[in-house]
């Protein structure tokens, strides 16, 4: 175990990795844990961690003058060289500002001097960094594994120079030249009225476009090797092993699938080794094989049976005897594909605790699913549900989005119909069959084909939810859950905002609006008032369709995707054309591989068995059915009903 060295050492670069939500939500974050280990393995640097204190704790800290501090060594945040935030969701932005302030560091980058830490941020939200540009000194775009050491090197040199006056700006300029690093203060923004004209570098050595970092070989980065085991219960409280990064299913609403391309699989024997070592080290009895669509891993069946059949994993033996233990390990696959094949794997995985299973058809009609490129047929869904109920599951949860492009009332009501049909399928097996339809409002995300789409307003989203509520009222076995459409609206402001939204985030924070992704703290009027105070129109920022030639606030940040590929895909969406997965079809030249000279790393040249999702396969012939499903805990990052906002 690499234990952070809490002492200070001259010349060493100290990183404070901050997850701007509670410890219980933030601790399992794999990105943060990977960087934590890498930074601590590097003799030139050390990392500790901090999380956002809950409101009662914050009040105590402010009342007694206690600043934000690290959980590892209880060191004050301002003593570190870098405060590095993980940005997984837009509604945490006010918490980022709050953490900087709690650290006793000026919240605005322009007010910091050589005595203050550098404020950095990484994670999916950095693919539109502009709303936080006022507060963050540097963003790291894309995979962080390699670039942290490069940032450490530049900062180490600054430390050695004893940081003379004016050197902060110099170090930022040097950081701006590191591949994948975006330093907003090195760019000039021009507006024409409400319209953004240009984001241009101030200096010739600052890149006009920042390209994301991508590690070519996941097998070279078997991290975390020593997953943290919290003493208190957290979400996703189990061993997590990332089996591949990237996804080319091509769901058009999904930002994660667009920005993490190409697909890079971890070698199968490395997966088994990480599972075995991880279970032994942590003492967990559950492992999750994580990715954006785990059933797509080449040889997922072999990987799973390898774990199930490995006595080191399942039947621990007492030292000095050959006596096998009887403590089973359960395996979970988050982000399940919807088909019977997947249910079969889940059946193999989850021998006990077979309570609920989660699928994400995302839309209620085939037409709508072609628009969003989630190519699941009704037959896929029913066969998955049939398989689940026949194998002992009693509850199925279905995730849907509403407010999608071209959605009509017929599409919305299709959600109720699908849920109803799933209950009927389940009734053949159990009277207790229950289906929960969870509906989130769609927020168009940067760097996706839907980035040009005008988000559906909160009153209209509420009307659609009401339609569904009426349609499922008194329907036995169907439960409807939905996210607050007002939170969807606030997420929309932060998702596609430009630099002018920074003032809004600051105002919401000043008015006490922290923990905005928690329903008990979310307050839309803070957002409404702040937008009005700065003369910014919600309609313009959120609900307006963009045209092909509009300069988007994130155009100078590149996920490798060609803009014309995204635009073409947006037109295909409107034409209701699906686009099969490029792992097993000719290349569409989206740019993700070619821009970086890398390729998909998959072990199998043929699509996985089962399911018609874009693989062109006939479900009836695919896969080793019967199979069964996955388990109790949904794979999405949402945490119960307290987290609001649409999933991407």
């Amino acid at each position: 175990m690499v234990v952070p060295d809490a002492s200070t050492r001259p010349g060493r670069v100290d990183w404070l990795l901050i997850y701007p939500d509670t410890y219980e939500i933030g601790l399992p974050n794999q990105g943060l844990q990977i960087l934590y280990e890498l930074i601590n393995e590097n003799p030139a640097s050390a990392a500790e961690r901090a999380y956002a204190p809950w409101t009662d704790m914050e009040a105590q800290m402010r009342g007694r003058g206690v600043p934000l501090f690290s959980v590892d060594g209880h060191r004050p945040a301002a003593e570190f060289d870098l405060l590095a935030f993980n940005l997984s969701a837009e509604l945490v932005y006010t918490n980022v500002v709050n953490c900087i302030d709690l650290a006793a560091v000026p919240i605005r980058a322009e007010h910091r001097d050589e005595s203050h830490p550098l404020v950095a941020a990484g994670g999916h939200c950095t693919f539109n960094p502009e709303p936080l540009a006022d507060f963050v000194d540097l963003f790291v775009i894309g995979d962080g594994e390699e670039v942290v050491a490069e940032v450490t090197e530049v900062v180490a040199e600054w430390k050695r120079s004893t940081r003379p006056p004016g050197s902060r700006r110099q170090v930022l300029r040097r950081l701006a030249a590191v591949d994948g690093v975006y330093v907003p203060s090195m760019y000039h923004v021009t507006y024409d009225g409400p319209r953004l004209v240009e984001v241009s570098p101030r200096y010739p050595d600052v890149p006009a476009s920042v390209q994301k970092r991508t590690i070519a070989d996941l097998g070279a980065w078997p991290y975390p090797k020593h997953q943290l085991v919290p003493l208190t219960e957290v979400v996703h409280d189990r061993l997590n092993v990332e089996i591949f990064r990237g996804c080319t299913r091509g769901c058009r609403f999904c930002q994660a699938g667009m920005i993490t391309r190409p697909v890079r699989e971890r070698p199968a024997e490395q997966v088994s080794r990480m599972v075995r070592d991880g279970l032994r080290r942590t003492g967990y009895d559950e492992v999750s094989l994580t990715s954006l669509s785990s059933a797509d891993y080449s040889g997922i069946k072999e990987a799973v049976s390898g774990i199930i059949g490995d006595p080191m994993c399942t039947g621990l033996t007492v030292p000095g005897t050959a006596t096998p233990g009887a403590s089973p390990v359960s395996v979970s696959l988050p982000s399940l594909r919807v088909d019977a094949f997947t249910v079969g794997i889940a059946n193999e995985l989850q021998k006990a605790r077979r309570t609920g299973l989660t699928f994400a058809p995302e839309a209620g009609t085939w037409r709508m699913r072609q628009v969003i490129n989630k190519l699941i047929t009704e037959e896929d869904l029913y066969s998955a549900v049939d398989s689940a109920f026949s194998q002992g599951w009693r509850r199925v949860k279905l995730y849907f989005l509403t407010g999608l492009p071209t959605e009509t009332d017929a599409d919305t009501l299709g959600i109720a119909q699908l849920a109803r049909n799933c209950v009927s399928v389940g009734r053949k097996h159990t009277k207790a069959a229950s289906v929960t339809a969870s509906v989130g409002g769609f927020v168009p995300k940067p760097q996706t084909p839907f980035q040009w789409f005008g988000q559906v307003g909160a009153p209209e989203l509420q009307r659609r939810i009401n339609l569904l509520r009426d349609a499922t009222k008194g329907e036995k076995g169907v439960q409807l859950k939905w996210h607050d459409p007002r939170a969807t609206l606030a997420e929309g402001i932060a998702s596609r905002g430009d630099r002018r939204i920074g003032a809004v985030i600051e105002d919401v924070w000043r008015a006490g609006g922290t923990f905005q992704e928690w329903s008990e703290h979310f307050n839309i009027s803070l957002w409404d008032e702040a937008m009005a105070r700065h003369g910014l129109s919600i309609e313009w920022y959120v609900e307006r369709h963009r045209d092909e030639h509009e300069v988007l606030p994130w155009d100078h940040i590149s996920a490798g995707l060609h803009r014309d590929f995204l635009w073409q895909d947006w037109r295909e969406a409107l034409a209701e054309h699906g686009l099969p997965d490029c792992r097993w079809t000719p290349c569409y030249d989206c740019g993700a591989c070619t821009e970086y000279g890398i390729e998909h790393v998959v072990a199998s040249p043929v699509p996985p068995a089962g399911g018609s999702q874009g693989t062109g396969q006939d479900l009836a012939t695919g896969g080793f059915v019967p199979v069964s499903l996955l388990s109790g805990r949904p794979g999405r990052p949402a945490v119960g009903a307290t987290v609001v906002g649409a999933a991407g």
Partner: protein, 247 residues
């Protein structure tokens, strides 16, 4: 089948770990040590681990217990190396939790919950108001012990009940006075109703509060004498007070 009783200490910052989280911590330690626990049958098998009396979050202890059941074929029991297991489990547990003793117990032994009748506690008593002068604690203790009955209103399972707590106060002794307050050691009954240190201090006066509470012993009665469920090596009970505070 074989049952083992484990005595452990919980000292320092880890005292802020709740009873439930402590139970999960043990289950992980057993797995890290590859200990073949017996599992319950049925739809949702659970390892056969039973904890004794719960320790309030924030209290330290030199006398926590749990009983576990191993799944071993006949004849294999002898192969469990108690000494290696003691060290191994301590290493697999978080800092502050240490195994003090392990011993086999009879298959039909009574559960800890049934058998334990009293606990010995050590704690500091100090004024609630910071900086307030410490009242005469000796006098307060005297008053408690000389009372025939101490009728208080307590909340039991969400309901208010009026109870005489005097029978549960078996003894209270003044130990020393330090900057942290006046240190007491007391024996409080756990049966038929258990009395918590915080309730004892409340009975001494609303102006006082308890600090640094540590359980020193749990007691069972057999043949009219008091025994510990598992005696710990002497050194363990002489451990200095853990002054590592969670800050």
């Amino acid at each position: 089948m074989s049952r083992l009783r484990i005595r452990f200490a919980k000292l320092g910052k880890v005292r802020w770990t709740s009873h439930r989280d402590t139970a999960r911590m043990w289950e992980r330690a057993f797995r890290r040590e590859s200990l073949p626990l017996a599992y319950s049958q049925g739809f949702s098998p659970r390892p056969k681990v039973s904890f004794g009396l719960a320790l309030s979050t924030g209290y330290e202890s030199l006398a926590e217990y749990l009983d576990i059941e191993l799944s071993l074929p006949e004849g294999d029991e002898a192969q469990v190396d108690i000494e290696a297991l003691t060290g191994g489990l301590t290493a697999a547990l978080p800092e502050g939790v240490a195994v003090l003793a392990i011993a086999p117990i009879a298959d039909r032994a009574l559960s800890l919950q049934e058998e334990v009748t009293a606990c010995t506690w050590r704690l500091a008593v100090a004024p609630v108001e910071p900086g307030a002068p410490t009242p005469d604690i000796g006098q307060r203790v005297e008053r408690l012990l000389s009372a025939e009955s101490l009728v208080v209103t307590r909340t039991r399972k969400g309901r208010e009940v009026v109870e005489d707590i005097r029978p549960a106060i078996l003894s209270v002794r003044l130990v020393e006075e330090t900057d942290d307050g006046v240190w007491l050691e007391c024996d409080l009954a756990t049966q038929p109703r258990s009395l918590r240190p915080t309730e004892l201090v409340a009975a001494m006066g609303a102006d006082l509060e308890e600090r640094f509470v540590r359980r020193l012993h749990q007691w069972i009665e057999r043949d009219g004498a008091q025994w510990e469920p598992l005696a710990a090596p002497l050194a363990a009970t002489d451990a200095p007070h853990a002054l590592v505070r969670a800050s």
